[in-house]
Structure formats: structure tokens, C-alpha cells
């Protein structure tokens, strides 16, 4: 730890800091996230594939990492991690190890000790850009060249890197605090195995109690909290790989289909767009984030890239049905241009920060989608009712 580390942005800005993660070099699109809590969920959110995440909150690592707050298997999905001050000694009754240890174990290159606020302001003013963190090459010029040579993450289909290889069933509900058990206590500081291939078996996750409605989740990089919330809302959940043909899904005869979140530019996921086209008039569909964008593209609309994206847990989104404002979890760089859909859908949700489109529903079919993350993880649960709304939609359909 604490070796000299450089972060170089493709714009030519160089930050010099210290490493608190894996020794090495990493490249990705640098974005910032304004959530004050939830770094473990952020690290493991597959939507961050291809990105280096900067936390705007200045002290990270405070509560360590635990075995429950993961959004995917096999460790972090981010390409790199940037913080102002890393805290090596965690304090939390659920902590199983320090964040630094976790990042080293999972080979994530990190930098701390830099002016993350200056970095954030730079990204805000100049837009998200490629960046490189290195603990091995300390020549800013050579790092800059590497960063500039990178074609950018829009050039790749990142979904294929994070989607599941096999179909699986999911049956855990959302995290709920459970009274202490002596055994839970004694497992403190037990090291988590990053090789664990099973769904995390944790006592703190509940199981839904309602009648089960069958849904198939297209995994474009799905966050576990989507699956947990679906279980919580009474769904029988089956997860399928992103490339699964629409026909195969329809053969499974689900009551509804979820298009999950995921990383990168939606236009690169051509197979998903094609498959979705085939589902539109067949089944109720609920799209989240990348799923929302894929839905937009499948209906013939266009998507556009935001200057620096939305990444955080405090964006107000107005639900145009209820008139209520929900504080939402956000993580996206692209938006659907609703006007480009020429009246096929209605705008249902609007971001009150910048007026961007946050949700739509089909005027004819039982289909709706949101750009933000009703599953939270991290972030507020204000929009969790959307899972129930989907269930009601299915029951009505």
C-alpha cells in the first residue's frame, strides 16, 4: 500500500496519489458517483464494467466490506477506483475485511490521496473521459498516450463480459436486519471467497411471501438487488444470459420479462435490441437502465450520451402518474430520446435535476421502463414500488 500512483485523464490532467488496491495498471472511462454510502454495491455493480469510478464523498472504506452487500458475483466490476482518503481500519458489525484487502484480492487498481473534488469538477466541465491508473508506469506521458489510444468504451459490447453464462433461478429477497445470532458474530472477519459461484447464501436475506408470478430476467449485467426485489414482490425469478434468443425465452412462457441494467453503450448490444423487438407485443416487459435503453432502441428510437452521466443516490425523479417525487439511485451515461419514439410511449418519469427522461410506458402494450434504479443498492428505496407495479401490470394483462 501507499506506493506512488498516477491517474492520467485523456484530457491531459495528471493526479498523483497513493495506491490502496492492486499494484498494476488499469484503463477505463472515468466517472464520478455522489453516493455517500454504498461503495461495495457500486464496486460490484456490473453496469460499471469499463469504468473507473471516483467517489465524491471524501472518506471511503469506513465500514469495510461484508459478504452481503454485493450486487454480483466474483468481486468488483469497476475497472478502477478513485477516492480522496481511504480508511484502512473498518468499523461495522457486519464487516468481514477491509476494503483495501478486498480490492487487492480482486486485483482492482486504485488511487487515493488526490483532490477528488477537483477531478469531479473537471469531469463535470469537460465530460466523462478515458483515464488510466497506474502504479507501475509512472511516466505521465506514456500513460496519457495509452489513455488516448483507447477507442473508448462505446466501441465495445461490455454486456457479454458480465452476463451470466448459464440460466439460473433466484430466490433470495432483499436484505433485512436480523437479530444477532452468536454464530453470525463469530464469523466476523472471516475472509470471503471470491470464487464462490453460488448465489450468496446469507441469513439476512428474506424470502418473498406472495403468490409467485414467473418472470425471466435478461441479464445484461443484472444487479442482484433487482432479483431480490423481484422475489420480494412475489415473483418466481429465472435469469437468462443476454444472448438468449427471444424464442427461447418465450418458450419458457414467463408471465413477464425484465430487461436488466448493464454496462456500456446500448447500441453495441445489437442482439439484445433484436431479441427485444420480438418480445414487444408478446409479454409484459419491465426495463431498467440499460434495459430501458434497449427497449427504446428496439422500438426504433434513439439514445444519446450524457456529458458525464448520472451516478449517485440523490436525484429527484418525478413520477408523472402520482405527481410524487422519488429520490432515486442513478447510474447511467445514456438516455432514451422519448420524442424519437413518435408517440409509441408516454413519458412517465422525469429527472428534476436536468429534465432528462427517466421512464416511459408503452401506449398499447403492457410495457414500461425506467432509467433509474428502483432496486436501489445503493441508494434510496423510494422507487421499489415499481416492482409491485410490474406485478400488478402482469396481473391485469
Amino acid at each position: 500500500m501507499s506506493g506512488k500512483t498516477l491517474l492520467v485523464l485523456s484530457g491531459g490532467i495528471v493526479f498523483e496519489g497513493r495506491s490502496f488496491g492492486y499494484e498494476g495498471e488499469t484503463i477505463g472511462e472515468v466517472v464520478f458517483n455522489t453516493s455517500m454510502t454504498g461503495y461495495q454495491e457500486i464496486l460490484t455493480d456490473p453496469s460499471y464494467k469499463g469504468q473507473i469510478v471516483t467517489m465524491t464523498y471524501s472518506q471511503i472504506g469506513n465500514y469495510g466490506v461484508n459478504e452481503e452487500d454485493v450486487e454480483s458475483l466474483n468481486g468488483p466490476k469497476v475497472e478502477g477506483f478513485v477516492v480522496k482518503e481511504y480508511i484502512d481500519i473498518p468499523s461495522n458489525w457486519r464487516a468481514s475485511m477491509s476494503l483495501g484487502q478486498y480490492l487487492r484480492d480482486n486485483k482492482i487498481v486504485c488511487i487515493e490521496g488526490i483532490d477528488t473534488r477537483a477531478l469531479t469538477r473537471h469531469l463535470r466541465n469537460h465530460g466523462a473521459q478515458m483515464g488510466i491508473i497506474s502504479t507501475v508506469d509512472l511516466n505521465p506521458e506514456s500513460l496519457l498516450e495509452k489513455a488516448r489510444k483507447h477507442p473508448g468504451i462505446s466501441a465495445f459490447d461490455l454486456v457479454k463480459d458480465v452476463t451470466t453464462k448459464e440460466i439460473y433461478k433466484w430466490n433470495k429477497g432483499v436484505w433485512k436486519w436480523q437479530p444477532a445470532v452468536a454464530e453470525v458474530q463469530s464469523s466476523k472477519f472471516k475472509v470471503q471467497s471470491s470464487e464462490d459461484k453460488n448465489s450468496p447464501p446469507h441469513p439476512s436475506f428474506t424470502k418473498g411471501e406472495q403468490r409467485e408470478v414467473k418472470v425471466v430476467v435478461y441479464d445484461f449485467g443484472v444487479k442482484f438487488n433487482i432479483l431480490r426485489n423481484l422475489v420480494e414482490a412475489g415473483f418466481d425469478v429465472t435469469v437468462v444470459p443476454a444472448q438468449t434468443p427471444a424464442e427461447a425465452v418465450l418458450d419458457m412462457n414467463p408471465d413477464g420479462i425484465i430487461l436488466s441494467n448493464g454496462p456500456g453503450d446500448p447500441e453495441t448490444v445489437t442482439y439484445a435490441i433484436e431479441n427485444t423487438k420480438k418480445l414487444l407485443d408478446k409479454k409484459p416487459v419491465f426495463g431498467i437502465c440499460l434495459g430501458h435503453q434497449i427497449l427504446g432502441l428496439a422500438m426504433g428510437g434513439r439514445t444519446y450520451k450524457l456529458k458525464f452521466g448520472h451516478h449517485g443516490g440523490n436525484h429527484p425523479v418525478k413520477d408523472l402518474y402520482t405527481g410524487r417525487v422519488e429520490i432515486t439511485s442513478q447510474n447511467h451515461n445514456y438516455c432514451v430520446d422519448i420524442n424519437s419514439l413518435h408517440g409509441q410511449v408516454r413519458l412517465t418519469h422525469k429527472n428534476l435535476y436536468d429534465g432528462t427522461e427517466e421512464g416511459m410506458s408503452h401506449v398499447e402494450f403492457p410495457i414500461f421502463s425506467v432509467q433509474h434504479h428502483p432496486e436501489a443498492g445503493p441508494g434510496p428505496n423510494d422507487s421499489a414500488h415499481l416492482f409491485t407495479r410490474f406485478r400488478e401490470l402482469i396481473e391485469k394483462a
Binding site: 495528471v14 468499523s91 469531479t120
Partner: protein, 1113 residues
């Protein structure tokens, strides 16, 4: 939802005098509410008894009543003003309780007034702990096991299931007054009995102890559309068991994962909905078991609170202002966020820094009080600091306190003492933690003693480790030049928040050396903005804090051409990291201060509230800002007190939330380069910086530091008075114990002794003989050539007079002449006073005015000046001259309608009194009486006798056409009910017996009965007065304390002289305090009370708004 049009006039209740648990945060919230409501076009009727508030400025409301906060007075005001609605959530517990009373008495219904913000049901559900508990159960929220106790017997039954330690909280008391923790049955009984007495509803909640649990608070807002947002999460450094007002607290919460935080957030939303707070802010407290994560709800305040003020300052989200707008029907998404302008208020602030709140205590004023921190609040003020890390934020908070600490200094204590200090919560605990770490105690051990979360302890350890790193360098530290390693260490230390002074201490060199080294090596503070959004959006409000950041640089790939994109001047190259052949670029330190080129003035605030320096000075600072804005200056405020109006980001043009130390102020001055700096308004805090600032070449506006010195320096002051041929009580300056005794002998006892350069009469005492003088010198002061001790002749029985004046250097205007009710010798801050004088002859008053003007002219005062006189046997003595804002400025402003502080600020930038239209002294026809309010009920065991050491925390004003009634109102306002019937107890020192004859005669004439202790009774009987006799406590039962406990006494007049007599009669005053029997400890006070009884019986009491009083200017 558009704003409501069915209501037009809104009644707003303030929080009354500053007391422990209810300070100027409610002036901040009330002032914001006034502004917000009027901005929306509503008429505002405001009631507050505290004149030292911005909210009671006549411009703030349509009608302002400085009248007692009682249901009777409120009804009179309601009857006259006929408001449509009452907003009860802005004036703390006082306003909330009063609103409940008005509603329950049917007064609100009678006049058709709607409660807005929080309805009666919601208030009761949140405030009544039993109802609250039920509500929590209903929504599945866990609460600590508890029972509601109405009698000792019930209590004894209930404790069996609850167990020890148990927490006791009397219902409906301010700031948890009378609460406590019982570890055994005996303590439990004692606390329970006291709690039952103190609770106005005779109920005490006994709760399962959650001592040592982690404590959190969430600030929640809800609008009429049921949108709910969390403004801020706060984690307490001190665990459960210490009142949150006495805890060090940190924002945001540090040790919660997102899942745990969201659980708390979800609970908060469910709670505010269930309690039914319609609109506005609430504060919800949680306790969390650190081992298991069990979370219980502790309480909810259905109103704006001290924590809301803190949360507002911590995040930049103005809770009170938004709450006021929500109360009239607007929804969160309809209100813009002032800071980002483009985004709405319906969001949750995110911060990219750490905020630390640190309480300020005043135990030195109450040496008899128990300094253990418990669930009853004892701190008198607080500071807030902002840093990028907890370490930085904490160290900034410590030096903001102005307690002479600039970091976690060493403490000389053995391990036993240290352990005891860790175990028992006290105001110095954090320094003991540092010491324990220094001595190698493990974090686990400290945790087990303190239950302070290891996360905090670990951070303190990092500070201590850094100290060690610095210390070992002390031999290598060359003041001339530093090696790159030492420069790097200095930078790291500054990023840890170390003050120059602390680094200097560790290295055994001077603070100025560190400052120069920093400058030499380009180690400068940068300023970052508080922007509510973690830099996601552009912010337009220059609300700034300092930090030290690692600079970055820019490299161009073609031939490594270097380009700086910042306006920061070029700086020397970055340390070479073995990067061969790379041309190193300029370093960029991003500084968001972005100073303007306007003409600008820095105003130094007054720091944390403390006894002797409170809201009055913040009031003056705010007025200075307003006045200079009017003249087109850019105003820059520096302050660190989150409770104040001055630290509202829209008070000044630019706000630096920073400690008021020479280092931090100079850093800002270097960045802003103001035309000058104002030190006159913030009390002693900025005044202490005047000389060091001037030495650094900073221009001090207004009266020159030399003139200030002429007034402050004893010798020069004597010469000044001599020159003007003015009288002074004989005085001398002593540099040693022997010197003091010698001086006292020449002057003659009694003498008043005190150290020089103090505010609030700290360590000031009247001594009658050389033995007590010697004791005093040993106990209170360390006399030395740098710290002389002043010895003054004490003028017994003199009338003290305070004068506030303003001058432009040529002309002088008298703002007000105030005659003290209590005799000279009682600290002016603790004495009631009347404006204009109620008994002084006109020629004396005129002579006092003449002398004041002569002094102002001689000192070339530009701005404010306060002079204290003593009048004895027709002779006028000058006690002291202070060429700065005094505590009475806001009172004089409210009484006369002349905004003295504003005028003074304008004079300081070159305006003349003539230009401002002030050519003669103002005469008023009404009378205003200021009365002090004391925190004795917080400090059991502290005597209520007044003396030269100031003890009051706040003040109220009574205003009327008649002195007696004005005085009466002032007494009602501070909770001293004037008895119109019943029995008065009287026990006097010999000297006071002669004047008591008239008092008692009058009382008997007025139909009251009098009972006295033997000596006093004999004297009065000898003068033909028919009174009863009662035993002193030592004389057997039944005695006077029995009568007080039986509520047979309606007023206590008790004066004493000498330590033994004071000790003997202590239980009388203590029981009067405990049983809330109004009392006075001076004969002059007694005279005023009798006068008030007379007037209150004769005349109908009336109310009148300040605007009406000052209509004919």
C-alpha cells in the same frame, strides 16, 4: 401545489431568551421563516421576548412584539392582530409548548387560527412518549423498553422489568432538564422524584438503557404532497448516554453501510408519515447496537431544531426557510435550490467533506456544578467545522472552540486519572483519548472505556501518529529551509488539519515560523465550496471552507508542452518521482474562492456562544454586513458558529465557515485582499486578533487599535481620564501576589480584582480582606508581567450605568443610557437595566452623556463605544470604556429604534453621522427593561447569588409606557412570575435591612403577607410591621425550605454577605430554584419587584408592537 391563498397573516413564535438547549439557532430559523413567508407575500406577526435577535428587527416582520411568551400575552396579541395561522415549528420547544397551550385552551379555535406545519395531534404524538411509543409499534419500529411513570410507587414496580442502568426523562421539559441515568436503586429514586417535580405533567419516562450504543440523527423534510427527503445524516462521536447537544457529532454518518443507512432512512420516512408532521422539518434520533446492529428509535422533534440548524449549515440546504414555504402549501419540487439555482429543493444533499460539531462548555463559570456529561444538556454553545477528512475537520473544530486549544495537546495525567476521564463522560474526554493513545493504550481498551466507535478512535490515533512523526523531526527543522521530505511532511500535517500553532508546539518553534515556512514552500490553504451536490452541478453561493489538497498538473502529449488551465500563479515543480526526462508541469491547486475585484470588507464573527459572548455579538455582525451591503461593499463573513444568522449563506456576500484564529483569518485575507477588516462587532474574539492582524499589515477599520489599547491598558486609561478630568474608582495593576496585596491596602478594601483583557467578568471577584485576596490570586489567576491583575476600589451600593454611543471621530450620538437595577458589583451582563434610567436625576444623566462624548472624542472612536459608570452619592465614576460593540447594542436598538450597529458599520467605512441623518440623541417616551436569564436549573449545587462573574446565558426585554410594568414584563419573560397575592419570604443581610422597611410596608399595603427569618423579622417588627417568623434551616422544623416545598411561598427575597451566611442560606435559594419559586438576591431587585406588583395591580397590562413604538421617528 401552489401556495395557499386562504391564509394571509401568519403568527410566528420565537424561542425567547438564550438558555442552555435553546440558543440562537432559533433566531436563525425564525429569521429565515420570516423572510421566506414575506417573500411569498404573507403578513407576519412575530412574538419573541428576546431583543438580541435578528428576527425581532422591525424590518423582519409586519408586526413585531417583544412581549412575554405566555398564553395570556399571546392571546392579547392574537386578539389584536387576528392572524389566520400559527406556525409553531420555528421557535424551538418554547414555541411548540406555547402552541399546544393555546390550542388546548381553545384560544386558537376561538380566533379561528389554523396550526400550520404541525397539527396538535402530530405534536402530541411526537412529544408524548407513550403515544410516540405506540405509534412506533404500529409501524414496526423498535424502541427501547420503557414505562411511563406517574409516581414513585409505579416507578419501583416498573424498574424491575426494565433493569439498570435506566434512563429517566421527565416529560415536556426543555433540553431534557431533570433527566439522568440511574445505576442503582438509590439514584433511581432520587432522579425519579426530581423528574416528577420538574415535569409539568408529573410524568417521567423510564427507559431501557441503550448507553454506549451508536447514536444517529436524520433530518427529514416532508411536503404537503407527501414527498419526503432526508437532508442530512449525523453520527455522534459520543455514544448514547450523552445529550446530543453535548456530543461531538459528525456529518454525514460514517460507519453505516448503504443497507443500514437506507434502513434508517426508510424508518425516518415511515415515522414522519405516521406522526403526521404535515410539512416541514423533523429530527429523528436512532440508537444502534454496535455489536448486533439492532436499531431503536429514540425520539423525534416535530419541528426545526438545533440539529436542523447544524444540518442546514453542514449541507447548504436551508431547512427552516424551506419548511416555512412548505407550511404555506408549496411543495419541495416547486422551490428552487438557491445554491445550484437550476435544481429543485426536492433532493437529498450529498456532501464531499466531513462536518464536525463540537460543543462548548462553561464549567469554569460554575465550579460547583457536576461536569459529568449526561442526558441533560450542559453546553452553552457549539462550533462547526468543515474539512475534507474527519481528522482535518476535528482539528479545525478544536481550534474553533477558543478554549486555548489548537489541537490534541498533551495532558499531564497519570494512567488512573486518564482511565477515569475516559470512563466518565466529560468535556475534555477527547484530549484524554489522545493522551491515552500517546501512552500506548489500545483502541480496543479505549473503546471499552468510552464506547466511542473505533472508527473515530482510529482517526485520532492517526493524528497522534502524525504528531510523533513531526516531533522526531524537531531537531532537523531549520527555520531557513526544509528538505523535500520535511516539506512533504508539512503538507501531510496540514492535510490532517494541524494548525500552524500545534505544529510549532510540536517542533518547539514559533507559530510565525511555521507560517513563513509554509509561504516559502508554497503550502497554501485552498477553498472549496459547500454546494449541496458534491460538485455535480455548478454552485452560485460562495459558501466556503478551507482545506489542503494535493495539487495536480496537466501534460500535453506533443513534446510534453505544459499548459496551466487555472488562474493560480505558477508554482515550483512537483517532486520528481523518478520520471526520467519528463518536463514537469506547473502545479494546479484548485481554489474555488474565486475572489472578486469589488471593494470589500471582512467582518469577523464571534465564534461559539459562551457566557459573556452570545447572540448579541452575532446580531451586531449581521447588522454590519447588512449596512455595508447597503453601501455597495462586498461583505465577507468569517465565523464558525452554526447556530447563527451570520453563518447563513445568504446573510453576507461570501461566507467562510472557518475557525477565528490568526492563521485561518490571515489565509482568507491573503486570498480575498479586502480593503479592511472589522473587529468591533464580534466581542472579544475578533478584538483579540486586532493587534496580530495589524502586525501582519491588515487594515483594521474603525477605531484604531491604538485607541482600543488606550481604553484597555490600565495605565494609559488612567492617563486618559486624568486628561479629561474624569473620576475613576481608585485602581492599580499588579504583576504578582504581593503587588496585588500592596495595591489593595493602598486603595482600601473592598476591592474588585480580575485579570486584564477578559469578557464576561471571568475570574472577577470582590474581596474584603487580604486573606481572600491571597486565595483569589492563587485560585483564579496566574499573575505575570504579560498577564497583569487589576485591582479596583469596589464602590459599594453605587448605581451602575451603561452607555452605548456611536461616533464618526468628530460627532458623537448617545444610543442609550441604561440604569442598572442591581447595584454596581454585579456583572453588567447579569444585571437588569432600564432605558431610559428610571431613578437617576436628569442632571446626572446629562453629565454622564457629556462624559461619554468627551471620551469618544478623545479616543477618536469611529464606530461603537460602551462606557460603564458608577454613580455614588452624586459622584460619577468611570468603570470602563470599551470602544467596540457591547452586549447591550441590540437591546438599545430595539428600545430606541436606532440600528446602532448598522450606523456604526457605515461610520467605519467613512460615512459621517450627519450624512446618515443622525444629529441628536434620541428621546423615547416608553421604558424598556432588559433582564438576564440564568442557567442555574441546569447546574444543581450552584448558588444563585449574583456577583462580578457573569453567569447569565441570555436576556429578555420588557417594554411598556410604565417602568413598573416594563420590569414586570421582563420578569414574566424570564420565568420569574410576579406574585400579585400570597406570601413573600424575606431574609436579608444587615446592610439591606433599613431599605427593606419601605418594601415590606408596600407589600403589606398591596395585600400580600410577609414571612421572614428571625433577625429580619425582628428588625421589621421594630419598625411596626406585622409579619410572620419562620425558622432558618438550622433552627429546626418547620423551616423555610419546608414552606417552599409546600408551595406556601410565592416569592423569595434573600440577600447575603459573607461566605458563611451564604453557605447557611444556600438551601433556601436552591429549593426556590428547584420548586420554581421566583426569587431575587438583591435589595434593588426587590424594590423593582415591589414596584412592579404595585403597577401590575393598578394598571391593565397592554401590548404594543415595536413598529408602533417607533412609529414617530
Amino acid at each position: 401545489m401552489p401556495k395557499r391563498t386562504d391564509i394571509k397573516k401568519i403568527l410566528l413564535i420565537g424561542s425567547g431568551p438564550i438558555i442552555i438547549g435553546q440558543a440562537c439557532e432559533f433566531d436563525y430559523s425564525g429569521a429565515q421563516a420570516c423572510k421566506a413567508l414575506r417573500e411569498e407575500g404573507y403578513k407576519v406577526v412575530l412574538v419573541n421576548s428576546n431583543p438580541a435577535t435578528i428576527m425581532t428587527d422591525p424590518e423582519m416582520a409586519d408586526a413585531t412584539y417583544i412581549e412575554p411568551l405566555t398564553a395570556d400575552f399571546l392571546e392579547m396579541i392574537i386578539k389584536k392582530e387576528r392572524p389566520d395561522a400559527l406556525l409553531p415549528t420555528m421557535g424551538g420547544q418554547t414555541a411548540l409548548n406555547l402552541a399546544v397551550e393555546l390550542a388546548e385552551k381553545g384560544i386558537l379555535d376561538k380566533y379561528g387560527i389554523e396550526l400550520i406545519g404541525a397539527k396538535l395531534d402530530a405534536i402530541k404524538k411526537a412529544e408524548d412518549r407513550e403515544l410516540f411509543k405506540e405509534a412506533m409499534k404500529k409501524i414496526g419500529q423498535d424502541v427501547p423498553g420503557s414505562a411511563y411513570i406517574g409516581s414513585l410507587k409505579n416507578g419501583l414496580d416498573a424498574i424491575e422489568s426494565i433493569g439498570f442502568p435506566a434512563i429517566l426523562r421527565p416529560s415536556f421539559t426543555l433540553g431534557g432538564t431533570g433527566g439522568g441515568i440511574a445505576y442503582n436503586l438509590e439514584e433511581y429514586k432520587e432522579l425519579l422524584e426530581r423528574g416528577l417535580k420538574l415535569s409539568p405533567v408529573k410524568q417521567v419516562l423510564v427507559e431501557e438503557s441503550v448507553l454506549g450504543w451508536k447514536e444517529y440523527e436524520l433530518e427529514v423534510m416532508r411536503d404537503g404532497k407527501d414527498n419526503v427527503v432526508i437532508i442530512c445524516s449525523i453520527e455522534n462521536f459520543d455514544p448514547m448516554g450523552i445529550h446530543t447537544g453535548d456530543s461531538i457529532t459528525v456529518a454525514p454518518a460514517q460507519t453505516l453501510t448503504d443497507k443500514e443507512y437506507q434502513r434508517m432512512r426508510d424508518a425516518s420516512i415511515a415515522i414522519i408519515r405516521e406522526i403526521g408532521v404535515d410539512t416541514g422539518g423533523s429530527n429523528i434520533q436512532f440508537a444502534l447496537n454496535p455489536e448486533t446492529g439492532r436499531m431503536v428509535v429514540i425520539e423525534m422533534n416535530p419541528r426545526v431544531s438545533r440539529s436542523s440548524a447544524l444540518a442546514s449549515k453542514a449541507t447548504g440546504f436551508p431547512i427552516a426557510k424551506i419548511a416555512a414555504k412548505l407550511a404555506v402549501g408549496l411543495s419541495l419540487d416547486e422551490i428552487p435550490n438557491d445554491i445550484t439555482r437550476e435544481t429543485p429543493a426536492s433532493f437529498e444533499p450529498t456532501i464531499d467533506y466531513v462536518v464536525t460539531k463540537f460543543p462548548r462548555f462553561a464549567f469554569e463559570k460554575f465550579p460547583e456544578a457536576d461536569p459529568t456529561l449526561t442526558t441533560q444538556m450542559k453546553s452553552v454553545g457549539e462550533v462547526m467545522s468543515i474539512g475534507r477528512t474527519f481528522k482535518e475537520s476535528l482539528q479545525k473544530a478544536i481550534r474553533s472552540l477558543e478554549t486555548g486549544s489548537y489541537g490534541l495537546e498533551n495532558i499531564n495525567a497519570d494512567i488512573k486519572t486518564t482511565r477515569a476521564k475516559l470512563k466518565t463522560p466529560n468535556s475534555e474526554r477527547i484530549w484524554y483519548i489522545a493522551q491515552a493513545l500517546r501512552e500506548g493504550m489500545s483502541i480496543q481498551d479505549i473503546y471499552e472505556l468510552t464506547w466511542i466507535d473505533p472508527w473515530f478512535l482510529e482517526n485520532i490515533k492517526q493524528i497522534i501518529d502524525m504528531e510523533e512523526k513531526i516531533k522526531v523531526q524537531s531537531s532537523k527543522f531549520k527555520v531557513q529551509s526544509l528538505s523535500p521530505e520535511l516539506i512533504e511532511m508539512m503538507k501531510e500535517a496540514k492535510r490532517y488539519g494541524f494548525s500552524d500553532r500545534r505544529i510549532a508546539q510540536l517542533l518547539n518553534i514559533q507559530e510565525t515560523d511555521i507560517r513563513h515556512l509554509r509561504h516559502q514552500n508554497n503550502i497554501h490553504a485552498v477553498y472549496k465550496m459547500v454546494d449541496t451536490c458534491g460538485a455535480e452541478f455548478a454552485a452560485y453561493t460562495p459558501y466556503l471552507y478551507s482545506t489542503y489538497e494535493k495539487p495536480f498538473y496537466k501534460v500535453e502529449s506533443e513534446k510534453l508542452k505544459v499548459k496551466s488551465e487555472s488562474q493560480t500563479p505558477p508554482q515550483p515543480p512537483l517532486s520528481k518521482g523518478g520520471v526520467g526526462g519528463v518536463v514537469l508541469s506547473e502545479l494546479i491547486s484548485e481554489n474555488e474562492a474565486n475572489p472578486s475585484s469589488r471593494k470589500k470588507v471582512v467582518i469577523l464573527g464571534s465564534g461559539p456562544n459562551r457566557i459573556g459572548q452570545g447572540i448579541e455579538f452575532d446580531y451586531c455582525c449581521v447588522h454590519a454586513v447588512l449596512a455595508l451591503k447597503e453601501l455597495g461593499y462586498e461583505t465577507i463573513m468569517i465565523n464558525c458558529n452554526p447556530e447563527t444568522v451570520s453563518t447563513d449563506y445568504d446573510t453576507s456576500d461570501r461566507l467562510y465557515f472557518e475557525p477565528l484564529t490568526i492563521e485561518d483569518v490571515l489565509n482568507i485575507v491573503e486570498t480575498e485582499k479586502p480593503e479592511g477588516i472589522i473587529v468591533q462587532f464580534g466581542g472579544q474574539t475578533p478584538l483579540n486578533l486586532a493587534v496580530p492582524l495589524e502586525k501582519e499589515g491588515v487594515k483594521i477599520l474603525g477605531t484604531s487599535p491604538d485607541s482600543i489599547d488606550r481604553a484597555e491598558d490600565r495605565k494609559r486609561f488612567k492617563e486618559l481620564l486624568h486628561k479629561l478630568n474624569l473620576k475613576q474608582a481608585e485602581s492599580d495593576t499588579a504583576l504578582s501576589v504581593e503587588g496585588a496585596i500592596h495595591a489593595a491596602e493602598i486603595i482600601g478594601y473592598p476591592v474588585m480584582v480580575r485579570p486584564s483583557y477578559v469578557l464576561g467578568g471571568r475570574a472577577m471577584e470582590i474581596v474584603y480582606d487580604s486573606k481572600s485576596l491571597q486565595e483569589y490570586m492563587k485560585r483564579a489567576v496566574k499573575a505575570s508581567p504579560e498577564h497583569p491583575v487589576l485591582v479596583d476600589k469596589y464602590l459599594e451600593d453605587a448605581i451602575e450605568v451603561d452607555v452605548d454611543a456611536i461616533s464618526d471621530g468628530r460627532d458623537v450620538i448617545i444610543g442609550g443610557v441604561m440604569e442598572h437595577i442591581e447595584e454596581a458589583g454585579i456583572h453588567s451582563g447579569d444585571s437588569a437595566c432600564s432605558l431610559p434610567p428610571h431613578s437617576l436625576k436628569e442632571d446626572i444623566v446629562n453629565e454622564i452623556k457629556r462624559q461619554t462624548k468627551a471620551l469618544a472624542k478623545e479616543l477618536s472612536v469611529i464606530g461603537l463605544m460602551n462606557v460603564q459608570f458608577a454613580v455614588k452619592n452624586g459622584d460619577i465614576y468611570i468603570l470602563e470604556v470599551n470602544p467596540r460593540a457591547s452586549r447591550t447594542i441590540p437591546f438599545v436598538g430595539k428600545a430606541t429604534g436606532i440600528p446602532l450597529a448598522k450606523v456604526a458599520a457605515k461610520l467605519m467605512v467613512g460615512k459621517t453621522l450627519k450624512e446618515l441623518g443622525l444629529t441628536e440623541d434620541k428621546h423615547i417616551r416608553h421604558i424598556a427593561v432588559k433582564e438576564a436569564v440564568f442557567p442555574f436549573d441546569r447546574f444543581y449545587g450552584v448558588d444563585t447569588i449574583l456577583g462580578p462573574e457573569m453567569k447569565s446565558t441570555g436576556e429578555v426585554m420588557g417594554i411598556d409606557e410604565d417602568f413598573g410594568i416594563a420590569f414586570g414584563k421582563s420578569q414574566i419573560s424570564c420565568g420569574n412570575r410576579i406574585p400579585l397575592s400570597g406570601k413573600i419570604f424575606i431574609s436579608l443581610k444587615d446592610k439591606d435591612k433599613p431599605p427593606s422597611v419601605l418594601i415590606v410596608k408596600k407589600l403589606l399595603e398591596l395585600g400580600l403577607s410577609v414571612i421572614a427569618t428571625r433577625g429580619t423579622a425582628m428588625y421589621l417588627k421594630n419598625h411596626g410591621l406585622d409579619i410572620e417568623v419562620i425558622n432558618k434551616v438550622a433552627e429546626g422544623r418547620p423551616h423555610i425550605v419546608d414552606l417552599i416545598k409546600n408551595k406556601e411561598i410565592n416569592f423569595v427575597i434573600n440577600t447575603v454577605s459573607g461566605a458563611q451566611a451564604q453557605k447557611d442560606s444556600f438551601s433556601i435559594r436552591q429549593s426556590a430554584l428547584q420548586y420554581r419559586v421566583p426569587f431575587t438576591t438583591t435589595i434593588s431587585g426587590a424594590i423593582a419587584v415591589v414596584n412592579a406588583i404595585d403597577m401590575l395591580k393598578k394598571k391593565q397590562v397592554n401590548i404594543k408592537s415595536i413598529q408602533e413604538y417607533h412609529k414617530n421617528k
